[in-house]
Symmetry: C2
Subunit: 397 residues, 2 copies
């Protein structure tokens, strides 16, 4: 049995350390996200690798690289271990030699949000929390409510009032309290601050506690395994970006895997995709800024992309630049067309965000930031079914 | 490399052989389902087992036990490899010592139907088919349409006109032609017969071709792995039953695994669950009949259970009886309560059928066919989201 790998919690900006033996939020000094830092080396990498098959067929396959004690009760619905689908007909449509879809819609609750919530709620319950709150565009609330139900905990979710029945009914069925808020997820976050006493409700907001990111980083570990486990990774990763934890999490996984000796210094080019009506990261990337300024009037029906300001902006922009990546926008019509491609060419009923990432490949090819010979992985972050019917994938005309 | 295991196609009733080198439907003589029969022994079992990890993380992990040639193009969306979720809070509610949910909603297209369609369409395309048709209550059509899209093939689906937007829109997005029919899946089957020339359209109806069942049997192989791969299986399996291929497929897998030397002669008790308003198998089981007589006016909003007559009746009834199992009905209110339990105690937004199987555990305990000390696996065959909102899981009152 491998002893748990020691870790610390370190501020992503000022590097200040915070104790991991109690519930933590953001950095006490500068308010930026805290990151889990493991002491990793090649010897650890060898030992961890030998033990992968001893763990369940889920993201908990990488349990030895998650900051969860060996005797902790795990709250798992089978999250992770999603398929990497070879999308040959869509590749042909786009003129690419090799294209895969990492289909996160096959997670519990139908989206990639399950990864973060399984780890965050497991850890928070380990540290004594029993009541959770969060602002959410929809999918994060559904995932949080499901794991709260599994753990027998309370959840209060502030959600935009136009998120739609799918998200509201789901959360309520799990037993969560839903607070509809006029506006975006940023307005929800403001209301949550007024209404949820932090001494009662533990806040699961994106990157405002350190452990959702640990769940998300398993996306990177899985890609490594999906590509054969011999160090190969795709040339480019195309990721729809709201709060950005998926992208940041993968970037963290790549750094860890290099320390473990599982991959070399080369990285996939990370491509962030946002909606034209709400593209703070694309704007900051293009202008060369280190952080992003909030979008005043965000407008997109791709709920997961309607994130006017993200606390992970600095980390995202770093990953995009260090990887030699790019940042792209798509219009509402374009993500709709991307959904149609995923349905008719691959057989996936994708979320608007998945459609956005798919269409962005075409734009990236046109912009020359992806080449036809590149191997490309596109993320479908969620299923389309929970969204309002007006945003479902349409048949090809 | 293990050479492909030879197999024949044999009638499940009269045992007549049919060649597997061409497309086959039912028995030419007696019209009953054809079954794939492999030549299996312990030596094969050892070799196959050693090769499991060389296959993808999906039902194709059991590729060596599927009747698909080694050079065949596989159409896979990552179906299978679904989680077995430990449902401790629901177990406590029911007074059971150990309860798991096999969550088939985490398949592509959100239901267990993906398993059969991946294998059936892969095999049919290998044998030259490019146009498919089927009658479906909803989930089978969605799955068939998705794999047809992946393979670049045509699909025509006859569906009850009250199946709801989720199923219709999904199929159409994948590029399928949907034919709404007033009535049940039996009425759809009649219309399909009139409208789909079998020399043009290959019929994927339940058990009217031999390969969907092969996909479904992987449920049994996965349970064996989920229980540790050392021969252990649950005491009881509770399965919502419409056409019955899941139940029949598992039963076939258990027989194969015994020939392979992976399990002994003991079997889980198989429990079939149907809706009170449409319970042909329960009626036949209770009356001691060998086959079931059709239900005249089937009435249930659990679409997958609204199957008035099933060609697999003989095979289902055999499995129930040989296993020492049982057959149970639940009312509309009861499957709704089962959905609520799955949501509030486990974090699953289940289909009506999953709710039916969950509630049936309570009835099985009351009837004494399940004991509190039994280890029990309940199948949630699909996600609730594609169904009409009126049948979604409701919050606990």
């Amino acid at each position: 049995m491998l002893p748990a790998i020691p870790f610390t919690l370190q501020c992503s900006r000022c590097k200040r350390s915070h104790p991991s033996t109690q519930l933590q939020r953001v950095c006490d000094d500068c308010g930026r996200p805290l990151l889990v830092r493991f002491a990793l080396d090649h010897a650890t990498g060898t030992r961890v690798r030998e033990r992968l098959d001893s763990h369940p067929r889920s993201l908990w396959r990488f349990r030895d690289l998650l900051p969860i004690g060996p005797s902790t009760v795990i709250y798992s619905l089978g999250e992770g271990a999603t398929p990497l689908i070879s999308a040959d007909r869509l590749a042909a449509r786009l003129g690419l030699s090799k294209l895969w879809i990492k289909d996160e819609s096959q997670n519990p609750t139908g989206s990639f949000k399950a990864r973060g919530m399984s780890v965050a709620i497991t850890k928070a319950v380990e540290l004594g929390a029993r009541r959770f709150c969060l602002p959410s565009a929809g999918n994060a609330a559904g995932a949080a409510a499901a794991y709260a139900a599994l753990a027998g905990c309370a959840l209060r979710a502030h959600m935009p009032d136009d998120s739609g029945d799918g998200f509201f009914d789901e959360c309520r069925a799990y037993g969560a309290e839903v607070v509809p808020v006029r506006g975006t997820i940023a307005d929800c976050a403001r209301r949550l601050k007024e209404e949820c006493d932090p001494s009662v409700w533990f806040d699961l907001s994106t990157l405002r506690e350190p452990y959702r990111l640990e769940g998300k980083k398993t996306l990177g570990y899985e890609l490594w395994e999906d590509f054969g486990g011999d160090g190969a990774l795709p040339d480019a990763i195309v990721y729809p970006t709201g709060g950005g934890t998926g992208l940041i999490g993968m970037w963290k996984a790549f750094a860890e895997m290099q320390e473990l000796g599982w991959i070399g210094p080369q990285r996939p080019r990370m491509m962030c995709v946002q909606a034209e009506g709400c593209a703070p990261i694309v704007r900051a990337f293009t202008s060369g800024a280190e952080t992003a300024t909030p979008i005043e009037k965000p407008q997109t029906a791709a709920l997961g992309l309607r994130v006017p300001a993200a606390i992970g902006d600095l980390l995202m922009l770093r990953a995009l630049r260090e990887s030699g990546g790019a940042a792209l926008t798509v219009t509402e019509a374009e993500w709709g067309e991307g959904q149609t491609w995923l349905a008719s060419d691959v057989g996936l009923f994708a979320s608007p965000e998945g459609g956005a990432a798919s269409y962005a490949v075409k734009k990236a090819l046109e912009a020359g930031v992806i080449n036809t010979a590149d191997s490309v992985v596109v993320f479908n972050t969620g299923s389309g079914f929970k969204y309002s019917r007006s945003t479902w994938p349409k048949p090809q005309l």
